[in-house]
């Protein structure tokens, strides 16, 4: 078991805290089958892989992959980048990644955690490992994107409202819990490199098997497979991680 990055500095009133879904991503990314797949995909002496986590939140997943890059990707010359629509999360995640990297001592290099929507500000064909723990809970409405998050001068009520809105963005997924995930899936063929691979977390209500089939039908030779799951018995929130990659 690789150590889980510390997130004690993360303010749970406005940033999504590490939860069962985050831990499933950690377990999946460090599993024997995924480390073997990734190490075969990114052999040492090839150009540095760029790891992008979309919607980093607390930063626990990106911090884990970066700090344990040597064990997961078989190399520590890895560049880590994050995006989030929540500016508090951007700051907290950068701190989480730096803390975990200094503890491991052999981690990859954090570039930045930028404020942004999904992978929309990334150069086409640049991302080698994309990770997304989306807002996957089915909800009647999808919260609006923040345009600018004001830091100061808010009344306590306004601040509470803003923080609730920021938190809702981390879980509320709209129809089938898939509205945000579908927008990310649309970006994948453009943003992933030729050797790129994406890991997307889904819950049962997202109909993961249908999602896998859809991806397998994308033009240009794509494959998808469920490579990790949890909560198989009683929990209604059965989670899984789908790996998406180009086969040709």
């Amino acid at each position: 078991m690789l150590p889980t990055p510390s997130t004690s500095h993360v303010d749970p009133s406005r940033i999504y805290e590490p939860a069962e879904d985050s831990y499933l991503l950690l377990d999946t990314l460090s599993s024997g089958s995924e480390t073997a797949f990734l190490q075969q995909r990114f052999p040492p002496e090839t150009p540095c892989p760029l790891v992008l986590e979309v919607g980093t939140g607390s930063g626990v997943v990106l911090a884990f992959v970066n700090a344990h890059a040597k064990r997961i990707l078989g190399r520590s010359d890895v560049a880590a980048l994050g995006t989030d629509v929540n500016s508090f999360a951007c700051k907290a995640a950068a701190q989480t990644v730096k803390l975990a990297a200094s503890e491991s001592g052999i981690g990859g290099a954090l570039l930045d955690v930028v404020l942004g929507d999904l992978a929309s500000s990334l150069i086409p064909g640049s991302v080698d490992v994309l990770i997304f723990n989306p807002p996957y809970v089915p909800t009647e409405e999808l919260p609006t994107q923040p345009e600018n998050v004001a830091d100061e001068g808010l009344s306590r009520d306004a601040e509470f409202e803003r923080d609730s809105h920021l938190l809702s963005l981390s879980y509320a997924g709209g129809v089938d819990g898939m509205e945000t995930t579908n927008r990310l899936l649309e970006q994948i063929p453009q943003v992933l490199s030729r050797r790129g691979v994406a890991y997307v977390l889904l819950c049962k209500q997202n109909k993961p098997r249908e999602v896998v089939q859809q991806i397998q039908g994308w033009p240009g030779g794509w494959n998808a497979e469920i490579v990790g799951s949890s909560g198989k018995q009683a929990g209604w929130e059965k989670l899984c991680v789908v790996r998406i990659w180009r086969v040709s």
Partner: protein, 131 residues
């Protein structure tokens, strides 16, 4: 935000993606900062093939930084025979990893949209009429 990050970022507006003028984003009124970071020579060597050298030269000249060599340095220019990091490699580490934009704006050369950088964090969220 690190200069290296700018090597991977472009305008968030969909229609700009196919326009070569959208990369690199051009810093405006940039206040720079230096943050010391441990050097990983292997990282610098293996990130080099991923850099758009022309774009990096444009960026460093727009920011008033020391000019870069005309061509991408070769492996011999980065590491001496003894495996020691050369000055060229150290300079690249400083430029890519330690030099950052603390505040300012990043301007798209295609559509002219400007993204603010505050406290070292670039804001790529678009106003709703541009999404």
């Amino acid at each position: 935000m690190k200069l290296l990050t700018l090597n991977f970022l472009t305008c968030a507006i969909k229609t700009c993606k196919s326009n070569p003028a959208s990369f690199p984003l051009h810093p405006k009124d940039a206040e720079l900062e230096q943050i010391e970071i441990d050097m990983n020579p292997i990282f610098i060597r293996n990130i080099l093939p991923r850099l758009d050298w022309v774009a990096l030269k444009t960026l460093s000249s727009e920011l008033g930084l020391a000019s870069l060599p005309e061509d991408v340095p070769t492996e011999e220019e980065l590491m001496g025979e003894d495996g020691e990091a050369t000055q060229t490699l150290k300079d690249l580490h400083v430029l890519l990893m330690e030099t950052g934009i603390a505040s300012g704006r990043l301007c798209c050369g295609a559509c002219g949209h400007e993204y603010a950088v505050k406290e070292g964090i670039a804001n790529f969220l678009l106003p709703s009429h541009l999404v």
